[in-house]
């Protein structure tokens, strides 16, 4: 019983990180037709930026988080304007794939140059021993991650549904041509969407680095996991990304705990196979199904 509570706590923590990662990827993949293989690098860059502010410069965690978010937004806008916008005219899904694979290699190696390849540990802003919360047995650090992730997702949701910029994003996702004709600068919306996804990934990176070590290559696994969540939840689906992320986190945690830690990654893929067999478009699939 004690284990169950622990696995639940770990799974939930991991799931929140996966959800943060998947939100940006699912929008960029589903609506901009960009299979972003550098998505995990925004997560890595976020972790290192926060580490630099918090642990090297000794400033507060909040400042570190802010630096990660701002850094990811700036980098995201630069990538979209500098690379993706130029490829969009060819309407070829392979080009952004190659470009983002190249970008991920570049960013990983830049990180090695700047921060060296030795794994780093960032501190959590909270500390203390394990606590019991309902059936869960977890740590203050994990609770902090879950709460921070939930707040981030909520803010992202409010941004999408309650602001003018969010409305223009949703309109563009449904019909870019009509959005142009209604006076929306669709190019800017794409840059904004890409930067938005990068910022969510960076928050994930900052949060995960409060409990795990960071390395310049930590983004690679994160990218792969994010794709699993995106397919699981359904391409382009915001709620799908959140539920898919939580599902993957819990399955991995329980699978590793009760069956075998060696196969932790395999359990997630197994669930993905089952979901795809039953619901080929994922849990919340089918964007663009309403087009005429």
């Amino acid at each position: 019983m004690a284990e169950l509570g622990q696995y639940l706590g770990n799974g939930l923590t991991l799931g929140c990180i996966y959800a943060l990662m998947a939100i940006g990827l699912t929008l960029v993949f589903g609506y901009m037709n960009v299979v972003n293989f550098a998505h995990g690098e925004f997560y890595m860059v976020g972790a290192y930026l926060a580490f630099t502010i918090t642990d090297i410069l000794g400033l507060s965690f909040v400042l570190g988080l802010l630096a990660a978010i701002v850094g990811a937004i700036v980098l995201g806008v630069l990538v979209d304007i500098g690379i993706l916008r130029k490829l969009r005219q060819y309407d070829d899904i392979a080009m952004p794939i190659l470009a983002t694979i190249g970008l991920s290699i570049l960013l990983q190696n830049l990180a090695i140059l700047i921060w060296n390849p030795v794994p780093k540990t960032a501190g959590s802003p909270v500390s203390g021993s394990s606590i019991d919360l309902l059936v869960m047995r977890t740590t203050p650090q994990n609770i902090f991650i879950v709460v921070a992730a939930a707040v981030s997702v909520l803010l992202a949701f409010l941004f999408m549904t309650r602001t003018r910029a969010g409305l223009k994003m949703r309109a563009t996702f449904q019909d870019p041509m009509a959005s142009w004709l209604m006076g929306v600068n669709v190019r800017r919306i794409y840059a904004m969407t890409f930067a938005f996804g990068a910022a969510m990934a960076a928050i994930g990176g900052v949060l995960i680095s409060t409990v795990f070590q960071m390395t310049p290559t930590m983004g690679a696994v994160a990218t792969a996991k994010s794709f699993v969540v995106v397919i699981l939840g359904g391409l382009g689906s915001f709620p799908g990304a959140i539920l898919g992320g939580l599902l993957l986190g819990l399955v991995e945690s329980f699978g590793a705990g009760y069956l075998s830690a060696d196969y932790e990654d395999a359990f997630g893929l197994l669930v993905l196979l089952v979901v795809l067999l039953l619901r080929p478009r994922g849990l919340f699939g089918a964007p663009k199904a309403v087009q005429e």
């Binding site: 003018r164 409305l167 223009k168 949703r170 309109a171 449904q174 019909d175 041509m177 009509a178 959005s179 142009w180 004709l181 209604m182 006076g183 929306v184 600068n185 669709v186 190019r187 309403v290 087009q291 005429e292």
Partner: protein
């Protein structure tokens, strides 16, 4: 107000429209008629910046707007209501109108839209995709008005509507003109278009072959034989 000179544009190597000269004066309702595939939609898409012109010029309010970004052309007051309605199906009626409306001026425009189309006011929270075809066309036109256009380009607003609605939609075009806006109407239904328009152009295989006052064109024998069923 709108002056098009020697406009050439297309999708591949072969231009879909060439040497287009067209004038629309302030307060006019001008129709472009022509059969399917004549290049009517291509012409509007080129004017609104969706496709680039390979030659020629488009001037609006004495400002050169050829190949400007579509949202800038909208900001200048030239707004294009596309063929096939293209409402945002997954957004509510209210949100559809808000996308086009600016942050501050929307109330006044909303009143105008609801006067023109009372049914939209009753369906504000409904998803656009759940509206009937006619209602979606009203929403598409209403959304266009929210962008505060000086000149409205309506592309085949009657397409796919029941005969009764076709007439209604074309009357709407005339009412928009009567409220002081300028209208450029593209329409396959030549008879009804010439009925509401002040002037008209005939587009055939990408070129303008005839133009004049709408009632004169409606009386011309060539036009009657080609477009009005004899």
């Amino acid at each position: 107000m709108l002056t098009v000179r020697g406009l050439v544009a297309g999708y591949g190597r072969v231009p879909a429209i060439s040497d287009i000269d067209l004038d629309v004066g302030a307060g006019e309702l001008v129709a472009i008629i022509g059969s399917n595939g004549a290049g009517k939609s291509t012409l509007l898409r080129t004017i609104s910046g969706l496709i680039s012109a390979t030659a020629g010029s488009v001037r609006f309010d004495d400002v050169e707007i050829t190949n400007r970004r579509p949202d800038r052309i909208v900001a200048a007051g030239l707004v294009h209501c596309p063929e096939g309605r293209h409402v945002f199906q997954g957004l509510s009626v209210r949100d559809n109108l808000r996308v086009a409306g600016g942050a501050t001026r929307s109330q006044q425009h909303e009143d105008e839209v609801f006067t023109l189309f009372p049914v939209l006011g009753e369906r504000l929270s409904q998803l656009a995709g759940s509206l009937s075809g006619g209602e979606q066309q009203m929403l598409a036109i209403g959304r266009t008005l929210m962008a505060s256009p000086k000149l409205v380009m309506l592309d085949e607003p009657s397409l796919g509507l029941a005969p009764l609605l076709v007439e209604q939609v074309l009357k709407v075009a005339a009412r928009i003109r009567d409220t002081g806006r300028t209208v450029l109407l593209v329409e396959q239904n030549a008879e009804l278009a010439l009925d509401v328009a002040d002037r008209a152009y005939v587009l055939e295989r990408g070129r303008i072959t005839n133009s004049g006052a709408a009632n004169e064109l409606a009386g011309s024998r060539a036009i009657r034989e080609a477009y009005l069923g004899g």
